[in-house]
C-alpha cells in the first residue's frame, strides 16, 4: 500500500472513531470536538488526494479511489458548512448526531477509497490535465458529497418522527411533513454545485470529445443524481409544501446519495 492509501486508512479510522464518539459519547454541546475530528478528516483526505495528484501529474478523478476520496471530502465540507451555519440562532440543526452520522458515511467512503487505492495506482491521463476537468472534480465533490449529510439528517429526522419515544439528541418535528426535512439544508447548499457540474461538464465534454454529454455511466449517474436531487427538493419545498409523508423525502435522499456514490465510482469512464 502506498502513502496515500495509508493516509486514507488513518483518516477513515479517525472519522469512524469521531463519528462513533459523536453518536455515543459526545451528544449535545460538544460540537467543537466533533468539528476537530471533521477538520482532521478533511485534511487527511486532501493530503491523500494531493499525493496522488503529484504522482500522476494530473488532476485527481482518474481512478475510483480518488473520486471516492473527493466525494467524502465534499461530504465533510458541506457538513462543516451546515454545522457552522446551524450554530447561528434560529437554525434548524443544532445537534451533533447528524454531523456524526455524516462523518461515519464519509469514513466508510474514505476506507473504501483506501482499499481501492491499494489496487489502483495513480494514472497519468493527458485529458485529466485540463483545468476544466479539475474544476469539474471540485464542483462534483461538493455537489454530490452534499447528499451524504442530507441523507444522514433526513434519515435521523425520519426515524425521530417514527419513534414514539424521542431519542436524546434527535429533534422530533412538530409537523410531520416532508417540507420539514432537515436534510434540505445540505441538499439545497450542494444542488447549485451539482447544477454547475452540468455546465462545466458540458464544456469539458465539448473540449475533449466534441459532444455535450457522453453516454457513459460517469455522466449518466451524475444526471440521475441531479434528477433525483431535484425531485427531493421539490418534495421538501418550503414555499409550496406538498402533502407527502416524511419517509418519501428520506427515500429520495437515499436514492440520490446512492446515485452520487455510483457517479463517483464510474466517474473515470468519462476519460
Amino acid at each position: 500500500m502506498e502513502i496515500d492509501g495509508l493516509i486514507w486508512l488513518a483518516t477513515a479510522a479517525l472519522l469512524l472513531v469521531g463519528g462513533a464518539l459523536g453518536l455515543v459519547v459526545i451528544r449535545r454541546k460538544r460540537l467543537g470536538l466533533l468539528l476537530v475530528f471533521l477538520a482532521a478528516g478533511l485534511v487527511g483526505i486532501l493530503a491523500g488526494l494531493g499525493w496522488r495528484t503529484w504522482q500522476a501529474d494530473a488532476w485527481p478523478g482518474t481512478t475510483a479511489a480518488e473520486t471516492l476520496g473527493m466525494l467524502a471530502g465534499g461530504a465533510l465540507a458541506v457538513t462543516a458548512w451546515v454545522t457552522l451555519r446551524s450554530t447561528a440562532p434560529a437554525s434548524p440543526q443544532e445537534h451533533p448526531i447528524p454531523v456524526a452520522a455524516a462523518m461515519i458515511e464519509a469514513g466508510l467512503l474514505v476506507g473504501a477509497g483506501a482499499m481501492l487505492s491499494w489496487r489502483e495506482s495513480p494514472v497519468t491521463v493527458p485529458l485529466a490535465r485540463s483545468g476544466l476537468f479539475g474544476l469539474c472534480g471540485i464542483l462534483m465533490s461538493v455537489g454530490l458529497g452534499g447528499w451524504l449529510p442530507a441523507l444522514a439528517a433526513s434519515t435521523l429526522w425520519s426515524l425521530g418522527s417514527v419513534l414514539a419515544r424521542p431519542h436524546a439528541g434527535l429533534s422530533r418535528p412538530q409537523i410531520a411533513s416532508s417540507a420539514s426535512d432537515p436534510g434540505r439544508v445540505a441538499a439545497l447548499f450542494s444542488f447549485p454545485w451539482l447544477t454547475a457540474v452540468g455546465l462545466v461538464g458540458m464544456m469539458w465534454n465539448l473540449a475533449a470529445h466534441t459532444t455535450v454529454v457522453q453516454i457513459v455511466p460517469g455522466d449518466l449517474w451524475c444526471i440521475i443524481a441531479w434528477l433525483t436531487g431535484g425531485i427531493y427538493l421539490h418534495a421538501t419545498s418550503g414555499w409550496r409544501p406538498l402533502p407527502l409523508p416524511p419517509w418519501l423525502a428520506t427515500v429520495l435522499a437515499a436514492v440520490t446519495a446512492a446515485a452520487a456514490v455510483l457517479a463517483a465510482l464510474s466517474a473515470p469512464t468519462v476519460l
Binding site: 437554525s91 417540507a179 473540449a207 470529445h209 449518466l220 433525483t228 409550496r240 406538498l242
Partner: protein
C-alpha cells in the same frame, strides 16, 4: 340557452383541470423520476455510440449482444442498447418539455403578481401555521407585527377591518425569479438537445496522416484534411483544413483544445505512430503502394497507421509481387534500443521466409529487388467532428438553470403571513412562513418575537 352556457363552463373546467394536472409539480417529479429510471437502465447496459450507422451499427450491436450470451438477443430486441434514442425516452422528454413550458408560464404569473401586486398575496395551500394569543387591541398587534416583519423585508403590506387584520412581508426579491429561470433553463436545454438530435451529427474515429483527407458521409459532406500533426502526444496543435460547399478554413486543434468553425466542432482524440513509405523502381518512377488493412488506401505515398490496438500492419507493392510486414515497438531493450522502433520485413510472393528484415528508428532507405524503398517515422491523429447547432441553446439553458438554482438555494424568497382576529381584550394570531428551509423554525422565531414585542409595548399602547 342554459345548455349553451353550461357547455363552455364544463369545457373551461376540463381545460383548467388539464392545465393544473399537466403543470403540477407532482407531474414534473413523476417525469423526472421516469427519466432517472430510464437513464439508470442506460447506465447499466452499453448504449449505441453516436455517429454509428449502417453496417458499423449492425456490427456494434452484434458484438454487444454477443457479450450477453443467451440474453443478448432478447436485450437487443427490446432495445436495451438503444434506450436513449427510443420512443419511450423521446416521449418522456416531450412530456417534460410540455410540463416545463406550462410551469414557465405559471411562474411568470407568480413573479408578476409578487412584483406588481400592491396588496397581500394569498398564502400557498398546505403551509403550516403556528398560533398564539396576544394581549391588547388589534391595532397594537398589527403595529407589533409590522415592526417585527419590517427588518429584512423588501415589502410589508397591512390590511385590516374592525375585527380582523393581516400583515404580509416578502424578502429577497431577486430570489422570486429563481424557479422561473430554472424551468426556463430546463426548457432551453431540451430545445437544444432536440435541435442537435434532429439537425446535428457526429463523426468519430477519423484517423488521418499528414497530407491525407477524408470526406464525411454526414449531411454537408465536410472534407477534412490534415496538414500537419504537430508531433506526438497531442501537446502541440495539429493543423487541419475543413472544407464545405466551396468554403474552407484551416484550424489548429490540440488535446482538450477543440477547434470551431461555425457550429462545426473538431477535437483531437489521440495521436499515434505512423510509417510514411514511398517506393521507386529502377527507372526512378514512383510505384503504387497498397495497404492490406480493410479499406486500405492505394497511393504512391502510403501512411501505415498504428492505432491503439494495432501493433502490426501489412502493405504491398502489387506490381512487383512484394509484401511488407511492419511491427511497431515502443522499445527493444534486448537490441539496445530504448526508443520507439519499427521492424520491417519484406516477403516475395508466397514465400513465408522474409527476404529482408530491418529495424528503423527515424528514417531509412533500402534496395529490395531493384526497388528503392524509403521509410520515415511520422505520426497520425484521430479526430472527432460534430455539428452542434443547438449548442447556444444548451449553453443559455445551463446558465439560466444555474442562475435560477443558485437564486433559489442562496437567495430564495422568504414570505410571512400574520393573520389576526380580535377577541375581546386579546388578539388571536396565526403565523405562516414560506422559505428556503426550516420554515417552522422561522415561524416559531417570528411568533416569539411577536409575543416579546407585544408584552413590551403593551403598556405604551395602553397609555
Amino acid at each position: 340557452m342554459t345548455l349553451n352556457s353550461a357547455s363552455p363552463r364544463r369545457l373551461d373546467r376540463i381545460l383548467d383541470s388539464l392545465w393544473h394536472a399537466c403543470s403540477a409539480p407532482q407531474m414534473l417529479m413523476l417525469l423526472m423520476a421516469l427519466l432517472a429510471g430510464t437513464l439508470a437502465l442506460a447506465a447499466a447496459f452499453p448504449q449505441q455510440p453516436p455517429g454509428l450507422e449502417g453496417a458499423a451499427l449492425e456490427r456494434w450491436l452484434a458484438t454487444t449482444a454477443g457479450g450477453y450470451r443467451g440474453t443478448g438477443t432478447f436485450l437487443r430486441a427490446i432495445g436495451a442498447f438503444q434506450l436513449l434514442s427510443s420512443p419511450w425516452t423521446r416521449t418522456i422528454l416531450a412530456a417534460l418539455a410540455f410540463n416545463l413550458a406550462l410551469r414557465v408560464v405559471a411562474q411568470a404569473r407568480v413573479v408578476s403578481r409578487q412584483w406588481h401586486s400592491p396588496g397581500i398575496l394569498p398564502a400557498p395551500p398546505g403551509l403550516p401555521a403556528q398560533f398564539a394569543t396576544l394581549p391588547g387591541s388589534l391595532d397594537a398587534a398589527l403595529a407589533c407585527a409590522e415592526a417585527v416583519l419590517r427588518p429584512g423585508a423588501s415589502r410589508v403590506a397591512v390590511e385590516h377591518d374592525a375585527t380582523r387584520g393581516q400583515v404580509y412581508a416578502c424578502g429577497c426579491r431577486p430570489g422570486v425569479l429563481g424557479p422561473l429561470l430554472t424551468y426556463l433553463g430546463g426548457l432551453l436545454i431540451l430545445a437544444g438537445l432536440l435541435v442537435n438530435d434532429t439537425v446535428g451529427w457526429q463523426a468519430s474515429d477519423i484517423a488521418l496522416a499528414p497530407g491525407s483527407a477524408t470526406t464525411l458521409t454526414q449531411p454537408g459532406n465536410l472534407r477534412v484534411t490534415l496538414n500537419d500533426t504537430g508531433g506526438s502526444g497531442g501537446a502541440f496543435p495539429a493543423s487541419v483544413t475543413l472544407e464545405q460547399a466551396s468554403m474552407g478554413r484551416t484550424v489548429a486543434v490540440a488535446l482538450t483544445h477543440p477547434a470551431r468553425w461555425g457550429n462545426i466542432w473538431l477535437s483531437l482524440q489521440a495521436t499515434g505512430p505512423a510509417l510514411a513509405v514511398t517506393a521507386t523502381g529502377s527507372d526512378s518512377r514512383p510505384l503504387l503502394l497498397q495497404s492490406l488493412a480493410p479499406g486500405g488506401e492505394v497511393n504512391q505515398t502510403l501512411h501505415v497507421l498504428f492505432q491503439e490496438t494495432q501493433g502490426e500492419q501489412v502493405f504491398a507493392i502489387p506490381t512487383r509481387n512484394l509484401a511488407f510486414r511492419v511491427v511497431s515497438y515502443p522499445a527493444l531493450p534486448e537490441r539496445g534500443i530504448e526508443r520507439p522502433v519499427f521492424l520491417i520485413e519484406g516477403y516475395r510472393g508466397a514465400d513465408t521466409t522474409p527476404a529482408f528484415s530491418e529495424l528503423v528508428e527515424d528514417r531509412a532507405s533500402f534496395l529490395v529487388d531493384g526497388i528503392s524503398l524509403t521509410v520515415r517515422r511520422d505520426y497520425f491523429v484521430t479526430l472527432e467532428v460534430a455539428y452542434l447547432p443547438g449548442l447556444l441553446l444548451l449553453l443559455l439553458g445551463c446558465m439560466s438553470m444555474l442562475t435560477g438554482v443558485t437564486l433559489v438555494a442562496y437567495r430564495g424568497p422568504v414570505r410571512a403571513w400574520i393573520g389576526m382576529a380580535a377577541d375581546r381584550e386579546a388578539v388571536a394570531v396565526a403565523v405562516r412562513t414560506a422559505g428556503r428551509a426550516g420554515s417552522e423554525r422561522e415561524t416559531e422565531r417570528l411568533l416569539q418575537a411577536l409575543e416579546a414585542r407585544s408584552a413590551g409595548t403593551e403598556p405604551v399602547h395602553g397609555d
